[in-house]
Amino acid sequence: MIRLERRPAPSRAWAWATPLLAVLATMVAGGLLFAFLGKDPLLVIRTIFWDPILGEFAFYYRGQLLVKAGPLVLIAIGLSLGFRAGVWNIGAEGQYIMGAICGAAVGLAFYPLEARWLIFPMMVLAGGLGGFLWAMIPGILRTRFNTNEILVSLLLVYVAEQILAWMALGPLRSPDGAGFPGSRNLRHYDAAANHELIAGSGMHWGVVAAFIAVILGHVLLSRHILGFNIRLAGASPRAARFAGVNPGLLVLTCLGMSGALAGFAGLFEVAGPAGQINIDFNVGYGFTAIIVAFLGRLHPVGILLAGFLMALTYIGGEAAQATLGVPAAAIQAFQGMLLFFLLALDVMTNYRVRFDVRARA
């Protein structure tokens, strides 16, 4: 008989080994899936994991890697703070959208004024504020009325999508757009554009912000009392109360921080790679960031690595769709497997497997 036995203390070795094993297991299971679809599994996996970095067209993909990883990491760092404290913000996608709308609206309001020193910083602030305020809705509802922040934040994503569509068709629609939906393209407005900092690298202010967030997140969690309170509240809510942590305030802080970071990510995206507010602006970064946060063990450095891995599967997945004709759904299933295997293998951190040769008398 096989049984799981709780370890006296969590295993550090397993905590670091599970993400790697999860990636390996995903490759094996994904390879089987691709084989069933009649594709050469080794070729598909090489296209996803190898070609974007070292393949023939890597010069194009490498830039895309930073562009995709930036918002994922930025959002995931914010989410991980809440997840550490047991505050489940599932609605980063909505906060991302609201950050983009608020930031873009500020930029567009100044059009065509050329004062980048003023306009771009204000857009960044507005973006963060938009995400922050949108996250305060589930926060205040939870602390005041004890609603479930998972449901409220998730449902607010769909509200934000409606607001996005309204903005793209109404208030923010480009006057020069011949009636097509979508705002002016901010990339064509230098005072508000979030350009690449080094041509071809994919490096823009959002990626810089993501790196800063990784460093600040790490310092916060390991050295700051707020980080300690966050970890304490997640580990043991009663002990946190005994330590003098105000649970309501902590919920608001965590939701506020994750909302603001998601808002920043939205602003940098709309002013840079996306360029405009449009109906199809959001592509699911806010949801994928949840996977990134867990794949990175809710640890800032882990999230950085996980963000790049996830970006890789996106880019490689698109390449596999384009060149090998792998269905998009298969790529999504492949990404989903990653989280599944991670959570499944996670058990090993706190438990060990015992094989009982004979049942004990």
Binding site: P8, A9, P10, R223, H224, I225, L226, F228, R231, L232, A235, S236, R238, A239, A240, R241, F242, A243, G244, N246
Partner: protein, 532 residues
């Protein structure tokens, strides 16, 4: 005290229905039942009386087949009785009404009853039978009502009727009055008397003396897992019962000669509701504790201990003036503001309240010591100071761990408790409040902790020890008081207290309230039983 076969005062001559001989059940670190023997007859309400942790629940769970004894045997109606499961017990005619009900609120009474039956009859027939039983035994209950709309007493009736439909010979009732109103208690007692008249045996668990004197024909008294006596409770005074329950070996302290210091902390007329689901409301609590003394607060668990600790630690806020530190009103202060002023606390629950189980001892040292030990500057934690604090606790209090980096849950109960108490004592508190400081510890660890509390008091700190262990409180406390149903008896000097007075303070019949206790339902929830 033990009855000879068929020779007791009530003149019952039938053979015992239930015989228990030499029952023993041990859990790691505690012997819950040790050589327990008793016998009970048909037509008897037989009380199992004892304090929390005395082993009553373990005993009846063994009778009901939920636990298997390590040693000893039982006989039911003269035949060997060794139930492997509650199913076997029910087949043999033993039924039990638990303290906490297992009912589905969204289903009606009849459906709930059907769920508990091996082979339920058709619903219409079942409803008729429920009506019959409820009329026969004076338990008004409509089989079609939704359980969600029933009061606690009515829910208990559902459980009782569920048992009675099986036509049991033995009915076990675990603290049945703890959730009932006085009127419901009266109805329940009538029912139990009818069952007795029909020749059933009722095993009745309680620690309420007046209740047992009013209802029961015979009492077996347990203390620390052993039978300490048996008697006809109607022939004994509450005082005598309390003495047997508390234990005659209780060492009463000699007069203490130290001078009491000034009042360090006081509470006046504090009433507080509990946030917890089965919490106890604190009612008009008044106390003061002086420098250099240990105020011992006894009482059975669930009578407001956790709530009192929360009010003192600052986890529950109260009106500012209701808690005074010297002259300073601190009722509205949170835990860290109180710590800054020197009021520290150590909760009962070692893992999950006093410490975070998965965090290291260094982190757990910062949990309560951050403020007083200067571990935080400008919002940043000085982890080397936290480590130093943790290491000095480990060294001074003989905490046996590989190092300060060990996670709290890897420590044994005794070692963790030494850490929890030492963590507060090394912060040099002016007032220290501890709840159950030695619960579940071996004698050596418990003695070390008691000594450290005595040392702290002798250095001029005011100490409040909330404990269920009377021996402990008699050993270390200067003054003694008891919590009962959220009320605190007036503190008395421990020196010169008689067993009678202690028993009455504890048993819910403190001071002049003996007469009232019988009619007033308790809200005691047994939480401290040594169940694994």
């Amino acid at each position: 005290m033990r009855r000879d076969a068929g020779g007791d005062g009530a003149g019952r001559v039938s053979t015992p229905l239930l015989e228990v001989q030499g029952l023993r059940k041990a859990y790691p670190g505690v012997v819950a039942n040790d050589d327990v023997s008793f016998s009970a007859r048909r037509g008897e309400v037989h009380a199992l009386l004892g304090e929390n942790g005395a082993g009553k629940s373990t005993l009846v769970k063994t009778v009901y087949g939920l636990l298997r004894p390590d040693e000893g045997r039982m006989k039911l109606d003269g035949r060997v009785y060794a139930p492997a499961s509650p199913h076997d017990a029910r087949q043999a005619g033993v039924a039990m009404v638990f303290q906490h009900f297992s009912l589905f609120e969204a289903l009606d009474v009849a459906e709930n009853v059907a769920l508990g039956m091996e082979v339920p009859p058709p619903m219409r027939e079942l409803a008729t039978r429920i009506r019959d039983v409820s009329e026969t035994y004076g338990l008004p209950l409509d089989p079609n009502r939704l359980v969600g709309t029933l009061s606690a007493g009515e829910r208990q009736r559902v459980e009782i009727i569920r048992c009675l439909l099986q036509d049991p010979q033995v009915l076990i009732m675990d603290e049945p009055t703890s959730v009932l109103t006085p009127q419901e208690v009266a109805i329940l007692f009538e029912t139990l008397k009818r069952l007795r008249a029909e020749g059933k045996l009722i095993l009745y668990i309680s620690h309420k003396l007046e209740e047992i004197r009013a209802l029961c024909d015979w009492a077996t008294i347990l203390r620390h897992g052993k039978v300490t006596g048996s008697c006809d409770p109607r022939q004994k005074s509450a005082r005598e019962l309390a003495e047997t329950m508390v234990g005659s070996e209780l060492a009463l302290p000699a007069a203490r000669t130290q001078d009491p210091g000034e009042v360090a902390l006081s509470i006046a007329g504090l009433t507080a509701t509990s946030g917890a689901a089965f919490g106890t409301e604190l009612k008009g609590i008044s106390l003061d504790v002086r420098r250099g003394e240990i105020l011992g607060i006894g009482g059975v668990a669930g009578n407001g201990q956790d709530e009192l600790l929360a009010v003192l630690s600052g986890e529950s806020r109260s009106p500012p003036e209701s808690v005074l530190l010297g002259d300073l009103p601190i009722g509205s202060f949170g835990p860290n503001e109180r710590r800054a002023l020197g009021v520290l606390a150590a909760p009962e629950e070692r893992l999950g309240h006093a410490t975070a189980p998965d965090m290291s001892l260094v982190e757990n040292a910062a949990l309560s010591g951050r403020r007083r030990m200067g571990m935080v500057r400008r919002g940043f934690v000085n982890w080397s100071k936290a480590r130093t604090h943790a290491e000095s606790v480990i060294e001074r209090f003989d905490v046996r761990v590989p190092g300060a980096g060990s996670v709290a849950r890897s420590l044994s109960g005794g070692n963790l408790q030494k850490f929890v108490i030492g963590r507060e004592i090394l912060q040099q508190p002016d007032v220290l409040v501890v709840n159950q400081p030695t619960w579940g510890l071996d004698a050596a660890a418990a003695a070390a902790i008691r000594q450290s509390l005595l040392d702290l008091a002798s250095q001029g700190a005011a100490v409040i020890v909330i404990s269920q262990d009377l021996d402990e409180l008699m050993e270390i406390s200067t003054r003694f008081s008891a919590l009962n149903e959220g009320r605190l008896s007036k503190p008395r000097d421990t020196a010169g207290l008689t067993l009678e007075e202690i028993g009455l303070m504890l048993g819910g019949a403190h001071d002049l309230e003996i007469g009232l206790a019988a009619s007033r339902p308790g809200r005691a929830v047994e939480a401290g039983e040594p169940v694994p």
